[in-house]
């Protein structure tokens, strides 16, 4: 019960400051009462939604992530770990609400020319592949800076060939994958594998790498299908 109370306080704290700030702007810029009501109704739904969602990830998604993360290294089969890591990364990203919101906004703003499902799938594929890469980094103990520099150099090279419509969307995709459902799941997976293969090596850097994948994936999507 006290856990639920803690969660309620956490969600209230994370929603209240920005809500007050937005309300202040709405009032100062003389928006109508109907607009204010619409905003407050939205806030209420978002608050309730986040609460149930955090509760659900705590008792459902994170424990199962930890169990799979602890089980995988026991198989001792690196190939299997990489494949399962990729599939899990894909599946968890598809479920990420931040990704859904971004994809919906892109679909609307582009009048449907960048389709929601296509965008979600490429983002998820990017996360999946980069989770496998970061597992390799962890197992082989490669310094993170090589991974980061190479990935971002690739990003900027690929940007030269990407249609302009896709570049800001691609860059934004990197940020949304690190949402509230993906991060705990990925970290649980990373900690499990790190514990078994890499001794005391930490799983820091996992999330950072997972957010480069979607940038590259969406740019590729642009190169293949864009105007």
């Amino acid at each position: 019960m006290s856990q639920i109370k803690e969660l309620v306080i956490e969600v209230i704290y994370s929603v209240i400051p920005i809500t007050i700030a937005i309300l202040l702007v709405l009032v100062l810029m003389k928006f109508s009462l109907a607009d204010l009501t619409q905003f407050l109704l939205g806030t209420f739904f978002v608050f309730l939604g986040l609460l149930l969602f955090f509760l659900g990830t705590k008792i459902g998604v994170v424990p199962i992530g930890e169990m799979i993360g602890a089980y995988l290294p026991k198989t001792g089969n690196i190939g299997l770990i990489l494949v399962v890591g990729c599939i899990l990364g894909f599946a968890i990203t598809v479920a990420e609400p931040d990704v859904q919101v971004l994809a919906t906004q892109v679909d609307l703003a582009s009048d449907g020319s960048i389709q929601k499902i296509l965008l979600i799938c490429s983002v998820a594929l990017g996360v999946g592949i980069f989770i496998s890469l970061s597992l390799i980094k962890l197992i082989k103990n490669i310094h993170i800076k090589y991974f980061m520099v190479i990935s971002y150099v690739l990003v900027f090279i690929l940007a030269l060939f990407t249609p302009p419509d896709f570049i800001p969307v691609a860059m934004d995709s990197g940020g949304v994958t690190t949402g509230p459902i993906t991060v705990p799941f990925i970290i649980a997976l990373g900690v499990g594998v790190a514990g078994a293969f890499a001794g005391k090596r930490s799983s820091f850097g996992f999330v950072g790498l997972a957010s480069v994948g979607p940038i590259l994936a969406v740019m590729l999507l642009g190169v293949l299908f864009g105007r």
Binding site: Y13, S14, V15, P17, I18, I20, A21, V25, M29, F31, A34, D35, Q38, F39, L41, G42, F45, V46, G49, L50, F53, F54, L55, G56, T57, I59, G60, V61, P63, I64, Y71, I87, L88, A91, V94, A95, P97, V101, Q105, V106, A109, M148, D165, I167, P168, M171, G174, V176, T178, G179, P180, I181, K200, R201, S202, F204, G205, V207, G208, S211
Partner: protein
């Protein structure tokens, strides 16, 4: 009002069910073939998934019916004003408020405090990251207003980050890049992004897809630079104090 607010909810429910289906299938697969946990434990996991499903559905409905249309309207109206430069301070203000309370940011601050053995206190991290994100959102608004290409800000930003990587240790680099995403919480992605799309729609010669997006990328850059800068200062100031590799402290 409430009835019209709920329109399209069935569509959202369908969408969320579809989004959660793959991970749920994988979980069932693991349960049947590998994990074989007790019936009770598995039922708890399923309950967790049901709550997650309801939570995401309510959240998305709030975003689709409340935040997105209103955020766009707000951006559109303010963007069409003759004094639309006011979006820059508004962006700064909203960016600051959005981060101050983001739970993920607090987790990151605790990590940094621990890894720096207490030399970078949570308070300093919190205000530096909030300030960084505030500048990012302000820059994002300025970018739309004056049509500055995204690359003009992102490329120097990441070059600076790579330069600073040479002067900080691996733990700080990892935390820095991990934290890129923490600032982009659900409120930023839903409301502030919708607002920036609204602004880009209002201003002539701006394209909502090309100029409206890019905001999240800028917001993600702020904590990366902040953590690297603090890591750099930390290694300069406390080099002699710090003999152990901080990674050893974190490792367990």
């Amino acid at each position: 009002m409430i009835i019209s607010f709920l329109s399209g909810f069935d569509q959202v429910l369908k969408e969320v069910a579809l989004a959660l289906a793959p991970i749920f299938v994988i979980v069932c697969f693991f349960q049947w073939f590998v994990l074989r946990m007790e019936r009770e434990d598995f039922i708890n996991i399923v309950k967790g998934f049901i709550l997650t499903f309801l939570g995401i559905a309510l959240f998305l409905q709030g975003v689709y019916a409340g935040f997105m249309p209103l955020g766009q309207k707000m951006g559109f109206i303010i963007g069409a004003l003759p004094y639309n430069w006011i979006l820059i301070p508004i962006g700064f203000f909203l960016g600051f408020a959005a981060i101050l309370a983001e739970p993920a940011v607090h987790v990151m601050n605790q990590q940094v405090e621990r890894v720096s053995a207490g030399y970078i206190p949570q308070k300093i991290m919190l205000y530096s990251v909030s300030f960084g994100v505030a500048i990012s959102v302000a820059l994002a608004m300025a970018r739309i207003l004056y049509g500055i290409p995204l690359a003009y800000i992102l490329i120097p930003g990441y070059l600076l980050a790579f330069l600073m990587m040479r002067y900080t240790n691996e733990t700080f680099i990892s935390i820095a890049f991990d934290s890129g995403g923490v600032a982009t919480g659900p409120m930023t992605v839903s409301f502030i992004l919708a607002m920036s799309i609204g602004v880009a729609t209002a201003i002539e010669g701006r394209d909502p897809v090309q100029e409206g997006f890019g905001l999240i990328a800028l917001v993600a850059l702020a904590p990366i630079l902040t953590v690297l800068t603090l890591g750099f200062l930390y290694s300069k100031l406390y080099k002699d104090l710090e003999e152990d590799d901080p990674e050893q402290i974190e490792g367990n």
